[in-house]
Symmetry: C2
């Protein structure tokens, strides 16, 4: 087989020619400006041109142990290269570089199944900053930042996740020796999941129930040494290993950890907030909400860095493939059409494209509010924290669950070929789907937002003067009983989403009250309404996303052709989700049964309008081929040559006859077994 | 760590005690009778007690190549054992044994990622039977059945799947030598996907465009030798290998195959139907529809053997885990509840249980009709073939897409632990999700059913006397404009599903006509309506499933407690899917906006009613622990001990310090890299 030509296929080249807008301009919009595009490309070129970071046999062919060994090798080379970059460049801050590597998609081109060093940067260092005293920060951050030690963050236990108060690991203060004694009283108290914990880290922040003077003071963070710095052997009393194979992240080295009465000095308790004095006296901090920060920060990152980014990858692959793949017939006797001509195919792809942009605009809002609230917090102002928390919860849940479902739809849109690892769908899906559960399980998060909404509903009259922007529609709410004509304008669509959210919040609030009147406890009434409570959080979130997306299309500094694309996507997002929940719109908005056909027609029109620009739009995500890492989705559209090339990287294909033939198959077929 | 106790946990034992019906009785119902349960267990005990078929290191820890080698070793041992069984037992037919192994779930306990020998039995032998002359059958079936040769079936090509007419491989008759010349004119014409093709098989049925006397006669099947029987080397002109890693089925050895002018004797064309004479004259068969048989057969198997079976596994795991896992709090101060107490959790589990039973009852209908139609076909009667084909299409599509989504919901219901391979969710999902695409891509299948429905609608008055049972509701159809009170009886629910299907079919038919009147070609009108056309196939299928399930609950020979459980599940299935598509019911059935709350209430009541029996119901699927293969779902509920035991099977955990520490991590941390 000859090498792959460097020319784009005709089909995909033609798609680019007929595009009505500048894909490069949309890239700048997507990145947040020309300058940010430039910086992203600078980093990509620096790291992705290094042959040392490439491997001839793809990761998936290795054994689990070999994957780990490769991950350590590549991580060391890669993070060394990052240090080199930071030493010689000051145009891009260290923070930005680490974010590209660990939060963005650059790192996935080097080690697609995740880094065992990630938690060291994402959780360990921020926790020391957030919870350590100045002295503790000086000591631990210096050691961690200079990579003298490799650290992780151990909170979740085998039997305990979401409900932090249920953690069982104990840390009991012994005033005689001025030490804490860490202990795992049960199997369910073993720490479980921390990235890098298995074999890669020698220190961890460990969350444990603090006991002193016979009293439990709840969960506190302790810095614990796990392994000897020279021999890497686990220290006495430390029971440690990895948790085994998973659906994805198999190079992250997630680990378990048990303690058998392990003693650590008193100053290993991170004491910026709460303290234990030498004699064992517990001193409580003034301000507990400060510890929310890291948790919300991670959710903010998940919305754009994980949900939007993985969905953007998936839909780029499926859209390009749909421009190249020809199959079936639309009209008898004509050549097989590009599969993107089929309306059902457009319906799989284009709502996913719209959802990427929708998530992105909400993620920008979330990031801005996070930064503003963090500043307020530093000044002791906690007013906007509940809104930020409520929006971070529902946006994390909805963005990851939309992306989860739509990535699979994109895979199905590629037929059987999406099932091959060389399509990269298996890795994209396994990376994203973990986010449905991690950093707050989605159902739990939706119920947290719902609690905030039900409370807001009950206070809507009292607080209407001071109500926050995302809840204003609740005090504005008037039921939809009075007839108003339906129209397909964006402002009416956005209003309909708000009416649905408000109507459902009202319904749930009344339903809870009704059950309480019937004799339910408030907890039972809440639980008996909870399916619908998750739905109000979703409805609120959709209304917010539509609003935010509409505003963005209005204020974005872009040319008219680009604005037109954004407006079409915004409308498609709204119409698509309206039709997915059309029952709610019939019940709670001004939509009437006789209006539904027109919405279906509009959907069909929008799909047809977006069709000619589809490849151009996904091009604007501007994924480097090494980051996309997909035989189906490469920029040049040379799908079949790339699939074939990928198959021949299988070590099984290195020999024409596998030795198992001689050992087993031949004796079996000859009746000699 | 001590070994796992053989006692069930208290939580799960208590669940079984409070069950209101006999789980064993429901098992007999599920299997199809006491006798079938007995035979199933007989086979399970015979095969699953053999230590030779067990491995200490789970499959997922091996490299891709090692997985293949293990799969050949285990396949040889296992199929040898099957032969031994068949030699010494005549209580269970060979067909039934192979179906348990390859179509049922028994085989998954031996090799969970699939057998490279499967296509030999499932496709090669049936094709020879269906398409070979008596002489060809005598020769090839004898060789294949006696395992002198190992064979596969090569149809799909790299660039061609669903649209069979588009296949490119050619087979050109040369009358001078009385041979066919097989050739792959392009890269896209390479055969792609056949199981076992990579390195395991030495013969294949190859589908190719038959050319003789300068004319193309379309796709025909040829038996082709691929590898030398002694050396296993590919024969001259045969380009062969495996297609590389996939999301699942990594022990199946899916392969690719290209031909460079490969010559085979004339009698390798399977000539039961069409023939090529020595001089190259083509003789066409009378009856082309006979070749439909195998295709429909496989879809019938997929509905129960793949969709229902994998969903049953997933929901067994998630339900048992939900009885053991305790998390969060329902009431302040009380111990953490079993997570099955949460309404949102019940909503994830119980509709999936109901769907398993619903799919099963439709699968039974499909199997019976398949057998009856096959008999008719043998007598030249093709009348019922279109209905069978239409129902096999939509049931395959809906059952696999429901199972696909619900298996993931079951995984999410287990939080992070569902992400671990030891939960078995990753394998269950990867096995099932392939079925969304294989044997007819779901969207394509739904559109085939839709075509049948639109045609039936246009003929409903003409054919009302002879209309088949599944379409009777179309000739009975009266629009829902006349007010009728809504009620939550099963007969009204079933009627509502039929009204939705009929109303949507009517709407689509009229929409297509409207577009044609506007000037669209009929093909363009079809394409521009196709999103909704897939929805009518789904609506028709749901109405059928509800009807069939209702009838089964009425006629099943079971005790009243078991019937009560079945009735609850049937009602839950209906209410769940009604609420998922409540907009359609508002538009097309007698459901009014004011009735929706009552349906929501009924959903909540049904979940609460099923709650006490949930573990008992999934117990009735009676999965052997080795078949379920899940640390979260084992019968004894000892979740945490089993997770821990599974983690410690990881070869990485065999040494406290991995060698990559000395090679890379230590130099890196010491600044010596």
């Amino acid at each position: 087989m000859v090498g792959i030509s460097d020319k784009c296929t005709e089909d995909i080249a033609r798609e680019r020619k007929k595009c009505s807008f500048s894909s490069t301009e949309l890239t700048h919009f997507w990145d947040g400006g020309v300058e940010l595009t430039k910086r992203r490309k600078l980093l990509e070129n620096y790291f992705l041109s290094d042959p040392e970071l490439k491997s001839s046999v793809p990761l998936e062919y290795l054994s689990h142990k070999e994957k780990y060994e490769r991950s350590i090798k590549l991580s060391c080379l890669f993070f060394k290269k990052i240090s080199n970059w930071l030493e010689h460049n000051d145009t891009i801050s260290a923070m930005e570089v680490y974010q590209s590597v660990l939060g963005g998609s650059l790192g996935s081109a080097v080690l697609k199944d995740g880094f065992p060093f990630a938690v060291h940067y994402v959780m360990f260092i921020p926790t020391i900053i957030g919870q350590g005293t100045m002295a503790q920060q000086a000591h631990w951050i210096s050691r961690a930042w200079n990579l003298e030690i490799m650290c992780t963050y151990a909170q979740t236990e085998l039997g305990h996740g979401t409900f932090i108060r249920g953690l069982e690991t104990t840390s009991t203060y012994d005033p005689d020796t001025e030490e804490f004694v860490l202990h795992s009283p049960t199997l369910t108290s073993y720490k479980w999941w921390p990235g890098g914990l298995g074999h890669t880290c020698n220190y961890a922040v460990v969350l444990a129930q603090l006991y002193t003077k016979g009293q439990c003071h709840g969960i506190h963070p302790f810095v614990v040494q796990l392994r000897d710095e020279e021999t890497w052997m686990p220290l006495p009393g430390i029971k440690i290993g990895e948790i085994g194979c998973k659906l994805g992240f198999n190079t992250v080295n997630n680990g378990y950890l048990g303690f058998d009465h392990v003693r650590i000095p008193r100053d290993r308790l991170l004491m910026k907030n709460n303290k234990v004095l030498k004699d064992g006296t517990y001193v409580k901090s003034q301000n507990d909400k400060l510890t929310y920060g890291t948790m919300i920060f991670v959710r903010v990152i998940v919305v754009r860095g994980v949900a939007a980014s993985n969905l953007a990858k998936a839909v780029t692959i499926a859209t390009r493939y749909s421009a190249v793949r020809r199959q079936s017939e639309l009209k008898p006797g004509e050549p097989e059409p590009q599969i993107m001509e089929f309306q059902t195919q457009q319906y799989k792809l284009f709502p996913a494209i719209a959802t990427v942009f929708a998530i992105k605009s909400s993620a920008t809002w979330l990031w801005d509010v996070y930064n503003s609230v963090t500043k307020d917090l530093d000044q002791g102002d906690l007013d906007k924290l509940p809104e930020l928390h409520a929006m971070a919860c529902c946006l994390k849940a909805i963005s990851t669950s939309d992306a989860n479902q739509m990535i699979e739809t994109c895979r199905f849109a590629c037929g059987g070929h999406g099932y091959m690892t060389s399509s990269n769908f298996p890795t994209i899906y396994s990376s994203l789907t973990a986010a449905v559960t991690y950093e707050g399980e989605n159902t739990v998060l939706l119920l947290q937002t719902a609690r905030y909404l039900v409370k807001a509903w009950s206070q809507r009259d009292v607080t209407s003067a001071t109500i926050t922007a995302t809840l204003k529609y609740l005090s504005d709410f008037r039921p939809s009983d009075i007839y108003q004509p339906w129209s397909l304008t964006m402002s009416n669509l956005a209003e309909a989403f708000r009416l649905v959210a408000a109507g459902k919040i009202k319904y749930c609030s009344e339903h809870i009250d009704y059950l309480i009147q019937k004799g339910y406890t408030s907890e039972d009434a809440w639980n008996a309404t909870s399916i619908q409570l998750t739905q109000i959080a979703e409805a609120h979130c959709r209304a917010f996303i539509v609003d935010t997306f509409v505003k963005e299309t209005e204020v974005a500094v872009v040319s008219e052709p680009v604005r037109k694309v954004l407006v079409q996507l915004c409308e498609l997002y709204s119409v698509y989700w309206l039709l997915k929940n059309v029952g709610d719109f019939l019940v709670y908005s001004h939509l009437k049964i006789s209006d539904v056909d027109a919405v279906n027609e509009r959907l069909a029109e929008l799909l047809a309008a977006i069709r000619p620009n589809a490849v151009g739009i996904v091009d604007s995500f501007d994924f480097h081929d090494d980051i996309l890492d997909s035989a189906l989705g490469a920029y040049d559209g040379r799908v079949y040559e790339r699939i074939f090339e990928a198959a021949n990287k299988s070590p099984l294909n290195a020999e024409p006859v596998n030795e198992s033939f001689h050992k087993y198959l031949k004796p079996f077929l000859k009746g000699q077994m």
